[in-house]
Amino acid sequence: MNAAAGFWSRCVQLSRATFRSWGWAVALICVVPAGLAQEEKTASLLEGSYSRKGADTCLACHDDQITLAVFRNGHGIPSNRNSPFGHGQLQCEACHGPGDAHSGRVRRGKERPALIEFGSDRATPVSVQNDMCLACHKSDSGVAWHASAHDSSSVACADCHTSHAARDGVLTTTGQAQVCDDCHSAQRIAGLKPFAHPVDEGKMNCGACHSIHDGDGEHQLSRPTLNQTCYQCHAEKRGPFVWEHAPVAEDCSVCHDAHGSNHPGMLTQRGPFLCQACHSQAGHPSLANDAGGLANASPSKYLLGQNCMNCHSQVHGSNHPSGSRLMR
């Protein structure tokens, strides 16, 4: 009896110790099957038989304008051998998966078997949806997508793209920002600030700076770094200059908010205070600038007009031999 009790006690102690040490593993063991079950569900969408007549089977029911709009873009070009409707391709089922069961007769009370649907609000797992798109769109977007923040956030391709439209709105200069703003509300707010790039005006889109599918530039920028991206339109600031301004050479965002600002030049703060956050030399750089320097008091050259840039106008760097103070 005592031996049995001792054995039981040791078992309990061992179990407790094991759980303490390996609790995470036990939890993982419980969780893994849940994930694997999802994998089974995924697999079922990709298996099964294809319909007998391809698109003609589908269009017998799905003959609405939205569905038919796929024939008005690159997906619906039969002369392109690689398009879903190219010779020998799988037409609607190239994207939506095998549809024989879906198009067949369904017993009363039973649900019609699902196909692959697109959009993160649909039942098909996002990874399955995106894999369908990326299986064909395997150019640079297909490879680098998996390194992107969009992939990390489980964004479905169809969250942004409309494949059943004559022209996908997100590919237009005027329409792209509206799509991006749906999730990036901070950028939408910033874009309406008094000083911003003309994105809200439809004259510039997010893709002008961001490579939306790629994960190889920082912040998914279209060039490897922020500065290299900015120089595409602001090449005059590339330099190198005789007299460089250290933060300029390193990171434009130290002073600028490229998405919009309450302050001129899209500066993160109003001058002279922005400059004074880094410059503290004795004399005028250190002076407090307050209401006493306003136009109706003792107008201050350090506060009004262009403030510091009234004199130090070459803040992006000077190529003048006497320009060490960025005044020439």
């Binding site: 996908d168 920082e218 060490s324």
Partner: protein, 707 residues
């Protein structure tokens, strides 16, 4: 660089190079010989919509005209259109916008998908900053001259000839961009691509021309040209991808210097000043990118970019003051030379469906190889400083390591965590070594198809090896100051997002709350603290296929605190910044009212408020608020006369008003030692009204749901 990049990449490279889709599916491949696609309404021939008409702008307003081209009161022509042409294998499309305005654009793309494509595009981008600026200067090329009888004075109050000689000079410029590009695919694996962009930007901006203790804001004429080239080759295999390319940027400034007459009494010979313009520069970069897909959805991405930027513009002399015999320059051209290196290794894996693992390593380097020389400065063309200075070509190296894992549970719960380590090594600056460790967790819960809740939170700690106060002192900097991009910083951040929709009603709501707090606890002078709070609510309702409504509200608050010392010792003043920006918008789209009318309305309100409270010993009080208010309304109506002919009317109203103490009440001579351009804060109400017709050519499919 190009706003068409996305279009090009996706439309042509993506769609045109679609691969063998069927290969992805695990189902047995069917015999498609009987798939006739008899019901498929394939497009052929030309489909196009063109619109033409006229409109009127009710007032001059530079800010309103910025980017839109509607900066001048008066009439304008409406001309736009888009279309496509499809034949056996050949596809072309064109998009024309705002042809009657400075903001006009045109894009023409054509090609045989899967074989080749070409494109040509033009964009005009007007930049309008001020139309309330006045100057006494006349310009000839890069030279600004005062009136011949100008009476110089030590103070602006002594400019007796000022008012009589002021004339309006808008601060505005125009950017024109022409792009030509294309790609060729000799087979399904290879693609050659090339894009060329030609940008010009010319006009007038404002530039501070310094005298010894005075300055003039100058209407600086400028004329830039940039040529860019992207070309390369891509290879796509079943599992792998590789790209090799070249990017070149060649900037030319038509002006090497800006010369101007000094309106103030000055040191002998300093009646004229000269400033260097941005030098011509060249940048060339070799790029490669390669990816491979292994088993278990494991993908490896390698990319690299090796660049070099140079500039060898002839240097100006130390001064143009004939009374100063300055030393000879240590070199006549800088021969600036900077190498850039950017490398990325990224590994992502999904060994089982719910588990996503990511790892990346990034290396960025700017190696400024420009020679250091000893220079003797002439202070603003007035007198020799007597000091010798050495230029500081800044270099840095940045290493970033990121790892993250996400696990998706069957219950709709997705959990993730990540870590990032950034190391930054610089030279010639106060901080040589800097590290930042960031950790975050995220959760996403989607219990059903209608509700989703997601959150992300983390902390980041930036540390430095030491702040070199001796170096700071050698620059004249206060040793207690910590530059905020070089300082210790502890950051907390979080974001919570809810989105939901009703099961049978297409009504969706999303809300976002975000928070970030930066604490520079080891800084005595400089930026001490910064906090951001942001809310956003979006509502959209698809009432029916013909009616959609939306509304949104957003608020962002950024508070910051900094300390300064006017006595070059301990802090004796503080500035508290409170930036707030509120946006609200609503709109609707109604289609086929009485089967003939489409109506669209968008309204946006934005209100910015920036308060700066400066606390000083003598307590002269906070600065007035920098307030701005924007109201923007866009209303358009389309009436369908027939299947092809439509009439349209567009109304746009925008009101903007800003209080800005930097400009308010600052006439050209208000500041005793600065001659300004006297720009006024923005304040305008503008209506734009346009009418016209549009006509659709081509198939009925293109005309969509016309009656």
């Amino acid at each position: 660089m190009s706003q068409y990049n996305g279009q090009r990449t996706l439309y042509f490279l993506g769609v045109a190079f679609t691969g063998l889709c069927a290969a992805h599916n695990s189902a047995a491949q069917p015999d498609t010989s009987a798939w006739k696609c008899e019901y498929c309404p394939f497009e052929k021939g030309v489909q196009a919509d063109y619109k033409a008409g006229g409109g009127v702008v009710t007032d001059d307003a530079a800010r309103f005209g910025n980017a839109t081209g509607h900066d001048k009161q008066g009439g304008f022509v409406i001309a736009a259109g888009d279309g496509s042409y499809t034949s056996d294998g050949l596809q072309a499309s064109w998009y024309l916008q705002d042809l009657g305005l400075d903001s006009r654009s045109a894009l023409i793309e054509a090609g045989r998908p899967g074989s080749y494509d070409v494109r040509i595009a033009y964009r005009g981008l007007p930049y309008r900053l001020f139309d309330t600026t006045d100057t006494v200067y006349a310009s000839t090329g890069n030279s600004l001259q005062l009136p011949g009888d100008w009476a110089r004075s030590a103070l602006t109050s002594g400019f007796t000839d000022l008012d009589a000689n002021l004339s309006r000079r808008n601060i505005e410029s125009d950017r024109d961009i022409i792009e030509v590009g294309g790609s060729y695919q000799p087979n399904a694996r290879f693609e050659l691509f090339a894009d060329y962009r030609y940008q010009t930007q010319d006009g007038v901006d404002q530039f501070g021309g310094a005298n010894f203790t005075q300055a003039s804001l100058l209407p600086r004429p400028f004329d830039y040209q940039t040529d860019e080239l992207d070309l390369g080759v891509r290879y796509r295999g079943e599992r792998g991808y590789a790209q090799l390319g070249f990017y070149g940027s060649f900037f030319q400034n038509q002006n090497t210097a800006l010369m101007w007459d000094n309106p103030f009494t000055s040191f002998p010979g300093a009646e004229r000043g000269a400033s260097a313009e941005a030098p011509d520069n060249r940048f060339g970069q070799l790029l490669f990118k390669a990816g491979y897909r292994f088993k278990w959805a494991t993908r490896l991405l390698l990319s690299g970019a090796f660049g070099n930027m140079e500039q060898d513009e002839a240097l100006l002399p130390y001064t143009i003051n004939p009374n100063i015999s300055a030393a000879s320059l240590p070199r006549t051209r800088l021969d600036g030379d900077v190498d850039t290196t950017n490398l990325l290794l990224s590994l992502s894996s999904r060994p089982i469906a719910p588990l996503s693992l990511k790892f990346s390593y990034r290396y960025d380097e700017r190696d400024n190889k420009t020679a250091q020389e000893v220079w003797s400065r002439v202070i603003v063309d007035s007198f020799a400083s007597g000091d010798l200075e050495t230029n500081r070509p800044y270099s840095f190296e940045r290493n970033s390591l990121t790892a993250s894992a996400d696990w998706a549970l069957r219950t709709g719960l997705r959990l993730g965590a990540g870590y990032e380590r950034r190391e930054l090594d610089r030279d010639l600056q106060e901080v040589a070594e800097q590290t930042e460790d960031t950790g975050w967790g995220r959760i996403r819960w989607r219990p059903n198809a209608y509700v989703e809740l997601s959150g992300r939170a983390g902390t980041a700690k930036r540390e430095i090896d030491r702040y070199d106060t001796e170096l700071a002192l050698s620059f004249g900097q206060q040793p207690l100051l910590r530059k905020y991009n070089l300082a210790h910083r502890f950051r907390e951040f979080g974001e919570l997002t809810f989105s939901g929709s009703l099961p049978r009603t297409p009504l969706s709501l999303s809300a976002t709350l975000a928070y970030a707090d930066d604490d520079y606890s080891k800084s005595v002078l400089g930026l001490l603290q910064s906090e951001e709070l942001r809310y956003g609510v979006d509502l959209s309702w698809s009432v029916s296929e013909k009616a959609q409504l939306y509304a949104n509200l957003g608020l962002q608050k950024v508070d910051a605190e900094q300390a300064g010392s006017s006595s070059f010792s301990t802090p004796d003043w503080r500035a508290r910044h409170e930036d707030e920006f509120l946006t609200a918008g609503f709109g609707f789209k109604l289609k086929q009212i009485a089967d003939r009318i489409d109506l669209t309305l968008d309204y946006t309100h934005g209100a910015g408020d920036s308060a700066i409270d400066v606390t000083t010993i003598d307590g002269r009080g906070p600065l007035p608020g920098l307030d701005s208010t924007l109201d923007s309304l866009r209303l358009s109506a389309i009436y369908k006369f027939s299947k092809r002919l439509q009439g349209f009317a567009e109304l746009r109203y925008e009101a903007f008003e800003a209080d800005d103490w930097a400009l308010q009440g600052v006439a050209p001579a208000t500041i005793p030692s600065v001659l300004t351009l006297g720009a006024d804060p923005y304040d305008y109400d503008v209506f734009v009204l346009g009418f016209g017709v549009s006509y659709s050519f081509g198939s009925s499919q293109q005309t969509g749901d016309d009656p």
